[in-house]
Symmetry: C2
Subunit: 159 residues, 2 copies
């Protein structure tokens, strides 16, 4: 296949991959009866070792402090996290994953990591290096374009 064709295919597969990530998140949320924001919050709390403060969640999720409170409320009600005041700074609230959340992690997230690692073992070290480079390049492109959108003032629509 021509290089031009390959490039087009890569772009298309990247798009499809994006969609498959999206579908996975959706399925995970449905399985837990959570919305996407709650799931992202749970994911953050699980991934981080050591608890997350409410404010950190607010920043990581890019939602308002008010919304964060209700996210934590819902996760707490679902038995997935606990709320404790930080002993060192009693203004802060620490969010900690419960054992139930760890079971969820084992059920949902660990298998993905394992399956992914298994699939990657089929590539040579050189190929993995190429893949890694590609992923970094793709991210760089996205970030540059995101910055372009954010920084430039929007052109007057309908100009």
């Amino acid at each position: 296949m021509s290089k031009y064709g390959l490039i087009r295919d890569v772009a298309m597969q990247l798009r499809l991959l994006q969609q498959s990530f999206d579908a996975f998140d959706e399925a995970a949320a449905a399985r837990l009866g959570l919305n996407r924001t709650d799931l992202r919050a749970l994911d953050l709390v699980l991934a981080n070792d050591g608890p997350f403060s409410a404010g950190e969640l607010t920043r990581a999720l890019k939602i308002s402090p008010a919304a964060t409170t209700t996210v934590i409320d819902r996760l707490e009600r679902a038995g997935l996290v606990t709320r404790t005041r930080d002993a060192e700074n009693r203004r802060r609230v620490l969010v900690t994953a419960t054992d139930t959340a760890r079971e969820v992690e084992r059920d949902i997230y660990l298998p993905v990591g394992e399956a992914g690692a298994r699939a990657l073992r089929g590539y040579s070290g050189e190929q993995l290096t190429t893949i890694l480079d590609f992923l970094q390049t793709a991210r760089h492109v996205q970030e540059t374009q995101t910055a372009r959108l954010s920084e430039n003032p929007a052109p007057p629509p309908g100009r």
Copy 2:
């Protein structure tokens, strides 16, 4: 670097790439004053050549028919799409991108594609083949895992 380390890095970069896609969508939505659902709908209408029917949008976006109606309402009010009855089947409503929407496409989406293609030109045909294979494999893993989540009944939480 060890192969094991490379595999870990690939997993991490994949996660970061996902986040950068997300950030791009968010910036694009903010630039247009649309929510994410509306943006996805616009993207679909732009990507498809030939108009999208309301029902197709409902299925593609995985939202209710009622929600689709309001999505089209908002896009129409923003001057980005037009609603027309399908002449061949007057029950259906066809959604067509306007010229304004095409300007948006040129402003937002085309530059990403161009920057991406430019970046990919730096890879050899062999490398691109590896990348393409990797993307397909990654998608397959995600889809398999999504199916696992969807099909298996959820294990009783807090067992």
